[in-house]
């Protein structure tokens, strides 16, 4: 366990080095947030029927999404791992006296944490300071905030365990990018990155609620806005734990299986 923790710490420090890049990212994401809010504002201006979320809730959702983008985006991929697999350098990783699954898991989580740590605070401060229609708001209650934090971190772990499955599948296909692009754009839709899930037609909502993607994005953000009440949020956290268990076990088992048949070509 200690080894994984130090991998985690090293990666965190490494990621925090890129401060200028992070600052540039903040500016970009701030613009993105404003733009999306304006689009929703225009939609709300002459809405025929009552929308499923209030405009304020959507605005909070958008700001959270932009602040924690590195946390929740499925398309972020670690080129180092991809290179390891395609180039055959995976052999070195196999020599390490700890399981690859745990090692990569810690690494991926640390990467996302360090990315988000640099970006989310300045962005959130900016979002709280801008004038009213676009302003970010505090969560409804303390309980909602606590549950939001818990579910955000659990969601992060769910997301990383999903992307671990993608990396493992690359041992078999070796063709990384094409299938990953398709997979992540579909996952993005079902996680609520493109539009919050309540805006989808009901048949699609059913599919989205069934899949694990929404646990990382849609659920924590809607808990913050109060759109998901506290009692339901507790239930959601439980679902997250179950999914997390299933995903990690599947990943761990398939990693074991794949490792047995790995052939490292020399060179």
């Amino acid at each position: 366990m200690k080894a994984y923790f130090s991998v985690f710490k090293l990666r965190l420090i490494y990621g925090l080095q890129y401060r200028a890049a992070a600052l540039a990212g903040v500016a970009t994401q701030f613009f993105w947030g404003i733009m999306h809010i304006m689009i929703y504002e225009a939609f709300y201006a002459n809405a025929a029927s009552a929308p499923p979320m209030s405009l304020k809730q959507v605005i909070i959702y958008i700001w959270l999404q932009q602040s924690f983008l590195v946390f929740v985006a499925l398309w972020i991929r670690d080129n180092e791992i991809i290179n390891l697999i395609t180039s055959g350098n995976i052999a070195y990783e196999l020599c390490r006296p700890c399981s690859i699954y745990g090692f990569w898991f810690a690494k991926l989580i640390a990467q996302r944490l360090s990315g988000a740590m640099l970006r989310c605070l300045p962005l959130l401060i900016a979002a709280f300071l801008i004038p009213e229609p676009y302003k970010m708001a505090l969560p409804g209650s303390l309980a909602a905030f606590l549950l939001f934090t818990v579910s955000l971190f659990l969601g992060l772990m769910v997301l990383v365990s999903i992307s671990m499955l993608i990396y493992i599948s690359m041992f078999i296909t070796i063709l990384p990018v094409g299938s990953m692009v398709v997979f992540s754009s579909i996952g993005e839709l079902f996680s609520g990155m493109i539009i919050p899930i309540p805006f989808m037609p009901s048949w699609l909502q059913k599919i989205a609620y069934f899949l694990p993607f929404r646990l990382a994005v849609d659920m924590p953000f809607r808990i913050y806005t109060g759109h998901i009440p506290v009692s339901q949020a507790l239930q959601g956290v439980l679902i997250q734990l179950i999914w997390l268990g299933v995903l990690i076990l599947t990943g761990y088992a398939s990693m074991k299986k794949v490792q047995k048949r790995v052939i490292v070509q020399g060179g």
Binding site: F43, Y44, N46, V177, G178, V181, V182, I194, P201
Partner: protein
């Protein structure tokens, strides 16, 4: 120009070496904007319209912009990843050759897989055009084609500007994404749905308004007077490339090698 096509055929051959990967990536590129478009569709299903624009009107806009952007990404990729040339010092070699720097950088990289994305744009455009009750005339078809061409020129201009910045910053900078990808995102909707300052910025500084808003009014017969002016607005967008090229030349003069 001959040189440019030579570059193109060489790079196409080299990318086709990995045939399966090439096709998979193209298919992947086809699906990427698909989920964004699905999101757009669902929002319209929920709300009906956006500031008086119907779904198919916005879809027309979406199709035009995505076509223009994917063509640009395919052919102007060299400028998109230009920072690599500066960082590695390889730009020195480009300077030594007796040809224009612009053509050489343009030809240094092509991303043919983006054509998958182009196909998606075409499908959306045709779907929207069939469902809109537009009386198509020769002038309108010309306008539509001009819109796409103008979009390509504007995106190219922005990519060139972003690349020029690398002469000073060495690193590629993410802020430039506001204007490339952000410009694409923002102009997927008709510009008048945004606040005035955004609309003005993206009409008078970066002339996206000349691609999606003004000519769109003409296509949909919403103009009140002087409609020939609206038809010609995409041409103004094309002029955007001229100052960009000027800045590029300035940047090249300013270039200092990073060494090897």
């Amino acid at each position: 120009m001959k040189l440019y096509f030579k570059y193109m055929s060489i790079l196409l051959k080299s990318q086709m070496q990995y045939r399966a990967s090439f096709w998979l990536l193209s298919i992947g590129q086809f699906f990427v904007p698909f989920s964004v478009f699905a999101g757009l569709y669902f929002l319209f299903e929920r709300f009906g319209s956006i500031r008086g624009w119907s779904f198919f009107e916005v879809a027309l806009c979406f199709g035009v912009i995505n076509m223009a952007f994917s063509i640009t990404e395919c052919f102007v990729r060299g400028f998109d990843i230009f920072s690599n040339l500066v960082v590695s010092g390889d730009f020195d070699r480009v300077l030594l050759r007796p040809r224009s720097t612009f053509i050489q950088v343009l030809g240094s990289q092509f991303e043919f897989t983006r054509l998958g994305r182009l196909l998606q744009g075409v499908i959306v455009l045709v779907w929207a055009a069939v469902n809109l009750s537009i009386r198509w005339t020769v002038f309108k078809i010309i306008t539509l084609i001009l819109m796409i061409i103008s979009g390509i020129f504007i995106f190219t201009g922005i990519f060139v500007l972003a690349a020029t910045l690398c002469f000073w910053t060495i690193q590629g900078i993410e802020v430039a994404n506001i204007f490339t990808y952000g410009g694409k995102e923002i102009s997927q909707y008709p510009l008048n749905i945004y606040k005035k300052w955004i609309t003005r910025f993206f009409t008078f500084i970066i002339p996206f308004g000349c691609v999606n808003y003004l000519p769109l009014m003409y296509l949909l017969d919403r103009t009140q007077y002087n409609y020939h002016f609206y038809m010609l607005t995409p041409l103004i967008g094309i002029l955007f490339i001229i100052p960009c090229l000027g800045v590029w030349e300035m940047g090249v003069k300013h270039y200092r090698s990073t060494g090897s």
